[in-house]
């Protein structure tokens, strides 16, 4: 019974995320697009929960839906929204773009069968304890402590770079 419930939940989350991604890409008003992206991020967080990545789901909600998306929304408010919503949403070359997307999807669908995923005898049936916070935290602070510190350097560089790029000239 829990297996069926998990499959139903996965079907709902997958359908919801694909639908909200399509709506996010195709809406005319940029603010509506942002709200659909928010729905997409929450559905993806649900998928993370289903595959046992609880910490990743929390980070997805807090960082992506909470911080990055609000940041994008702030920037949208700097735009001239009515004029933006009045123009065409796609460039004139959109058939090529759609072809590229369909081609990529076909390629990925084809390579799905290429046995890229090893047949995991190691996968324990229904062992949800792996994705727990302690396993991720232990690996993050022992094996991956150097990349973790480098990420903090990247974030610092991004902060400084954003300030330098976006400041007004002449205000030192």
């Amino acid at each position: 019974m829990p297996i069926i419930a998990g499959q139903i939940a996965f079907s709902y989350l997958a359908a919801g995320s694909v639908a909200s991604a399509i709506l996010a890409v195709t809406r005319k008003n940029p603010v509506h697009s942002m709200l659909w992206v928010l729905a997409l991020f929450l559905h993806v967080a649900g998928i993370f929960l289903l595959v046992g990545a609880e910490f990743l789901a929390a980070v997805q909600v807090i960082v992506y839906a909470g911080a990055i998306l609000v940041f994008y929304l702030f920037f949208l408010m700097l735009l001239d929204l009515p004029r933006e919503a009045a123009g065409p949403r796609f460039g004139a070359h959109w058939p090529l773009c759609a072809g590229a997307g369909l081609g990529f999807a076909a390629l990925a669908w084809y390579s799905r069968n290429l046995r890229l995923v090893p047949n995991a005898e190691r996968a324990v049936a229904g062992a949800p304890s792996l994705g727990s916070l302690s396993a991720v935290g232990t690996a993050l602070f022992t094996q991956f402590v150097l990349p973790f510190e480098i990420v903090s350097l990247i974030l610092l560089a991004a902060i400084v770079g954003a300030v330098v790029v976006a400041r007004k000239k002449g205000t030192s």
Binding site: F90, G101, R122, A123, G131, A158, V165
Partner: protein, 100 residues
């Protein structure tokens, strides 16, 4: 419980949608959001691999992807802000200085 192949298919579909959005939209901010959709698709497949192989390293790679996505958002939107100061609007088709 959750089939990993379905997760990978979902990831491919989301990535394709983000690709279409990045290539096709005219608004630079929405192009950056499409990049975020693509990064999310990659995170889905990383989490699925982590679940299938029972290995937390996939989740850690996904965490690093999220951190780099945050840095990319900061720098990219700073560029968009500098761009919108020099000219009106954030339409990608107006930026033709590098076109020969």
């Amino acid at each position: 419980m959750v089939p990993v192949g379905a997760c990978l298919g979902l990831s491919a579909v989301l990535f394709a949608i983000g690709l279409v959005g990045f290539l096709g939209r005219r608004n630079i901010i929405l192009m950056l959001v499409s990049v975020e959709i693509m990064l999310n698709a990659v995170n889905v497949s990383l989490a699925a691999f982590s679940y299938r192989l029972q290995d937390p390293r996939g989740q850690i790679l996904a965490l690093f992807v999220i951190a780099v996505a945050a840095a990319e958002a900061a720098v990219g939107l700073g560029l968009v802000l500098a761009l919108s100061r020099h000219r009106a609007g954030v339409n990608i088709e107006d930026l033709t200085e590098l076109k020969w």
